[in-house]
Amino acid sequence: MRKIDTAEIGLLTKRLLIEANYVLSDDIKGAIDTAAVTETVPQSREILEVLRQNYIKAEEMVYPLCQDTGMAIVFIKIGQDVCLKGEYLLDVVNKGIASAYKEGYLRSSVVGHPLTRKNTGDNTPGVIYTEIAPGDKVEINVMPKGFGAENQSGLKMFTPSSDKKDIVDFIVNGINLSGGKGCPPGVLGVGIGGSFDYAALMAKKALLIPLNETNPDPILDDMEKMIMERTAALGVGPMGLGGRTTLLGVRMLAYPTHIAGLPVAYNYCCHSCRHKKGVL
């Protein structure tokens, strides 16, 4: 058994959250750069150029990419040959979140109860998923998730008679209704199958997949292309001001499901699709 002190996981969570809030990943930067050249609506092209300047400025580590530095979503994969030592894992991770948001000059955007809505003051708690994996490593993926975009997500329990087109219609219609509200051009994570909750979890996890990888499932690959093409044709464009740059990318995951069901969830992420991975 490999021993890992949970304090290391807390420190890594903190470092990754700060980095994710200041530095976009290369695939997202590349997608913005490309769109800033290819978009044909002049005003929308100017907006994409500002987004390019924005990520360049954020890399100076003074101003975060966006003022909505998100609720901290943390995925932790723990190798089954790892023995965790020290303080309780989730407490340590929440402490890592708190120190990231304080020391990284990030906004506290979490309220302690969804109805009484008092800000917790340190952006905790995060939404923390743990998963047991093979091996003796601990892998952490952080995703500071802004809620302007999160609010534009959707879920529908389809029946098995539904086909690819029904699903794509549902998603494209949702993107159309969202218009400029979720900070397009966005990135869309989609989960198909599993159960009600698992489809939503897959939709969120799909946002971690780099935009420049081809989906290994040819059905999903085809649907990703259909969604890209049809959302471009909507003409939503950057900030809803028109143009073909409605999404920077779509990433889909699928899982076996029940004979009676076909859950579909999509999780909307703004162009500032922030996530960062680290391994211990």
């Binding site: 975060p64 003022q67 509200k181 979720g182 900030m239 500032s272």
Partner: protein, 175 residues
């Protein structure tokens, strides 16, 4: 091509701006988002007066990140405006000249925009670092306990906005 507007003096020009026009605004504006609107509504319903004069001012739907030492503000891009739709007429009655945020609003809002001549402006969502470069100073003036959701007075310089819905009800969205 952008028009430059001093919003402290040229608020009539601001109110008359046409949809689709890009403006670079300079002057004093106020931030307020969900919680501040809710609190203002509660104060007004109790018959209390609001200790900030919003007459002819822009309300910017925004809650910034904490500023670093020596910076006038943190990242400060717009939040989604539609969440403040229910409070829109209330802020119009406070005399505001415009609201500033991002994204579409409910269709019913257009009537109030016309009635009170309060155009809706947008700026670039997710460009908080970039927009911070257009803010000269900021200070909290109301509801300090709300943190990032407090009402702040911002002095901006050449802050880029686009007139999204003008006082005649013309909109740049949906076409």
């Amino acid at each position: 091509m952008s028009f430059i507007i001093d919003v402290d003096k040229q608020y009539d020009n601001l109110r008359n701006s046409k949809a689709g026009v890009s403006l670079l605004i300079s002057g004093t504006i106020y931030s307020a988002r969900d919680a501040a609107h809710k609190r203002i509504a509660a104060m007004l319903s109790r018959g209390e007066s609001i200790p900030v004069d919003f007459t002819n001012k822009i309300i910017y739907y925004m809650g910034p990140t904490p500023p670093r030492e020596g910076s006038p503000i943190g990242s400060c891009g717009p939040t989604s405006s539609y969440r403040m739709d229910d409070y829109f007429e209330m802020t119009c009655k406070l005399g505001i000249a415009a609201t500033l945020g991002k994204g579409e609003r409910s269709p019913e809002l257009t009537n109030f925009i016309r009635k009170y001549k309060v155009p809706y402006l947008i700026t670039i969502g997710g460009a908080g670092a970039y927009l911070a470069g257009c803010v000269r100073s900021s200070k909290t003036v109301l509801f300090e306990d709300l943190g990032a959701e407090a009402v702040m007075e911002l002095v901006v310089e050449n802050f880029p906005v686009i007139v999204a819905i003008d006082h005649r009800g013309n909109s740049i969205f949906g076409g």
